[in-house]
């Protein structure tokens, strides 16, 4: 990592030249040589375009040659568990920040399932303060929908929003009670706040540990039926319609749930959803010989579901791709499959695994980057994910073709539980810029790290 400038010191003015400029929000996708690119002034983007430096870069400006690689808005990851406060042995805001910047993520939104839970203004403010001090990827917190994530009494949504919570979710738990969910949607609507549901009916998921079906049966594991997801998605679409609330589903994994969202959108409802790389890159067979790193929530599904996730991303039924980063330490994963914790890390593999959608011809490069930048930013009303004049200079330079092999031990997250361990991937982050400062730079000729 080559950090140029420290947080606090005003960053230099930088000209990024010789790059493929990608701005999904405006549809910009253009290869420029040394005469074009992007200019930052301090912490903001001051200009962008093909002929920007036709008379050469302005005097006194540092020039960064992007080597013809892609220059895009820094990624916006709308779902990450950062474990601080409370479980700092799994991850901290600092370790997550290092991992995220290595993954090209300039903004991430953390779940409230910390200890203490983010259901109180002081804890919400703590996250923002700590993340600013760390000075890496920007962190915005979600607030809890219910006090203590218990699914019973509503948290102070209005005041939490004033303290900086960007939307509300009970994290990796569903708001299961229909009355509580409908009141939350309705109350949140008072302030035009977004509720994000983890769509899994707990009474149906029960003690299941992987997708219900043939693989689970052969392995002798208790299954989590797809219907656990579908029932909540279909129910909550009804509740959102009844309450006129804004609703988002996290990490959809089943064909029927995606179809339900697609239909709700066609009816004009304010319903959105995201998914995560495991659900379009893996299926339940990855569980293989009880590999606990593939024990995720929701579980990896059947191949037909995986294909439906790909289709949903392609046709826009799915709005965003999030890392669903869920660090677990060895003690939580080195257990019999049924006892192991759910979750996989994902910050550093978000871009490269998402790029498989492009390499496999399912989506254009611009569309893939859109799902990782301005679309999640727009859902959460975050000023991020665009290459435009006056926007924060949050950038990523990446080579979409460079191959490497995921090695959990070499990832920067404090926890190493990646479901993609050993996977050959294409797409490497070369530089990450946040507020005009380079916070991550990959050493030249470095395959591997």
């Amino acid at each position: 990592m080559g950090g140029a400038g420290k947080p606090g010191a005003p960053p230099a003015s930088v000209a990024y030249v010789n790059a493929r400029l990608l701005d999904p929000a405006s549809g910009l996708d253009v290869q420029v040589d040394a005469r074009g690119g992007l200019l930052t002034d301090g912490e903001i983007i001051s200009d962008v375009g093909a002929g920007l430096f036709s008379d050469g870069a302005p005097d006194g400006v540092q020039v960064v040659d992007c080597g013809g690689h892609c220059l895009a808005p820094g990624l916006v990851d709308m779902r990450a568990q950062l474990r601080e406060p409370g479980e700092e042995h799994k991850e901290t805001l600092a370790s997550a920040g290092r991992s995220a910047t290595a993954g090209g993520i300039s903004t991430m939104v953390c779940l409230p399932n910390t200890d203490p839970v983010l259901d109180d203004m002081s804890v919400v403010e703590f996250i923002a303060r700590r993340a600013r001090k760390v000075g890496l990827t920007k962190v915005h917190p979600y607030g809890a929908v219910t006090k203590g994530l218990k699914g019973e009494e509503m948290a102070e949504l209005g005041m939490l929003a004033e303290s900086g919570a960007v939307a509300f979710t009970d994290g990796d738990r569903a708001v299961a009670n229909a009355r509580v969910m409908s009141k939350a949607l309705s109350y949140a609507g008072t302030f035009n706040l977004l509720i994000i549901q983890h769509p899994e009916e707990p009474s149906l998921a029960g003690m299941g540990s992987m997708n219900s079906g043939e693989t689970a049966t052969r392995l002798g594991l208790t299954g989590i039926p797809r219907e656990a997801e579908i029932i909540i998605v279909e129910r909550d679409i009804r509740l959102a319609e009844m309450t006129r609330g804004r609703l988002h589903f996290a990490h959809l994994s089943t064909a029927a749930a995606i179809e339900a969202v697609r239909k709700a959108k066609a009816r004009g409802l304010s319903i959105t959803c995201d998914t995560a790389p495991p659900y379009f890159a893996l299926n339940e067979t990855a569980v293989g010989d009880y590999r606990t790193f593939t024990k995720l929530s929701p579980p990896l599904r059947a191949e037909s579901d995986r294909q439906a996730v790909v289709d949903g991303l392609g046709d826009g039924a799915i709005d965003a791709i999030a890392s669903d980063h869920a660090p677990q330490d060895e003690d939580a994963k080195r257990l019999p499959f049924a006892q192991a914790a759910f979750g996989g890390i994902g910050l550093e593999t978000l871009l490269c695994v998402s790029l498989e959608l492009y390499h496999n011809g399912h989506m254009s490069l611009l569309d893939v980057i859109g799902r990782l930048t301005h679309q999640p930013a727009a859902l959460l009303d975050l000023p991020a994910g665009r290459l435009e004049k006056g926007a924060a200079a949050d950038l990523v330079v990446f080579d979409p073709d460079r191959g490497w092999k995921v090695d959990g031990d070499r990832l920067l997250s404090k926890s190493k539980n990646t479901p993609f361990d050993g996977r050959p991937v294409q797409g490497r982050v070369l530089r990450t810029v946040i507020d005009g400062r380079t916070v991550f730079e990959r050493q030249a000729a470095g395959a591997g790290t």
Partner: protein, 322 residues
């Protein structure tokens, strides 16, 4: 025995709600009440309108101010007033509402003033008795005398009802006061805004002829009247709102929010108030702005007018008495 103009009659046996009353009928009640305001300020507050008549206050739900107000109203008109409350009646012993009505009916009361915790409870009872019935509040349905006393208070302060912009703020969902006020103010040509978190706004309430706001400052803009509703804090654990602190922060009436209403906006509250929950203490006690105590005074006058007007329609002798 009355000063009613012959063309202004009140063609209803009961007063079960404001819904269905004409502007003339409402005006009649307010005009009559106006005369009693003056009378109630004299040393001799009595007027022999209900001499020989029996009025029973039948309260299935606790109440201090409404019951006292009706009791005073009946007594000042010379009637005999009896109070029955649920704790001392046979309701607690398992008697049904209809049996209670039949029992009381056999005692030949002339007017029953009834409060019941269930919407429609007062109407059900009225169908089983021969006397006049006044709804003293039924569930979340109607509280007609409250709306009338609010209207009288407004009319005295503002000189009119038509064209005024009235904000009704707070727990509209559970409020019978809000519903009666919506009917009355709409009938009289005022413009009504409801301001509350979405969880406390009843579904399809726009169909009752109101505008809905979820933001106090926005909703109070240019309002002539700010009516606060009592927030029942026991609702908090049923997820209508997260906490008293958050409720007051966004929906409690304080000077900052009040600043977007008209400078001479009148503040009203049906009582009992929760200071620091739906209304800031200082605002509630602001003599220049708050009409809260005046509302209580108008209550007695309005109830006298209601008793008088209904008594006019009573037969000289009781039906069914053989």
């Amino acid at each position: 025995m009355t000063g009613l103009a012959p063309e202004l009659t009140f063609a209803h046996r009961h007063l079960l709600g404001i819904e269905g009353l004409s502007p003339d009928e409402i005006t009649l009640l307010l005009d009559r009440a106006e005369t009693y305001v003056a009378q109630n300020r004299l040393a001799d507050k009595k007027k022999a309108v209900l001499v020989g008549r029996t009025i029973i206050n039948l309260f299935f739900e606790s109440s201090t101010r409404t019951r006292t107000s009706f009791e005073l109203a009946g007594k000042r008109l010379g009637g005999d007033v009896i109070n029955m409350s649920v704790s001392t009646s046979s309701i607690k012993k398992g008697e049904t509402l209809i049996d209670t009505a039949m029992t009381l009916n056999a005692m030949h009361p002339d007017v029953l003033v009834v409060r019941h915790p269930d919407s429609g409870g007062v109407k059900l009872l009225s169908e089983k008795v021969n006397c006049a019935v006044i709804n003293g509040g039924d569930g979340s349905h109607e509280h007609p005398t409250q709306a009338l006393l609010d209207a009288l208070t407004i009319r005295r302060r503002k000189g009119r009802l038509a064209g005024l912009r009235v904000a009704i703020c707070g727990d509209v969902l559970h409020s019978r006061v809000a519903r009666s006020n919506i009917y009355l103010l709409n009938t009289m040509g005022a413009r009504i805004r409801l301001i509350a978190p979405r969880t406390l706004i009843p579904p399809a309430v726009e169909r009752m002829g109101v505008e809905v706001f979820n933001d106090m400052k926005e909703g109070l803009k240019d309002c002539d009247i700010v009516m606060m509703l009592r927030l029942q804090s026991e609702r908090m654990h049923t997820n209508y709102f997260p906490s008293i602190r958050e409720y007051f922060h966004f929906f409690g009436l304080d000077y900052e929010k009040l600043a977007s209403a008209k400078p001479d906006a009148l503040i009203m509250h049906p009582g009992p108030m929760n200071r620091g929950v739906e209304i800031d203490s200082e605002v509630a006690d602001d003599i220049g702005r708050s009409a809260i105590r005046e509302q209580v005074e108008m209550g007695v006058a309005v109830r006298m007018a209601c008793l008088e007007v209904l008594a006019l329609n009573l037969p000289a002798w009781v039906e069914g008495a053989d």
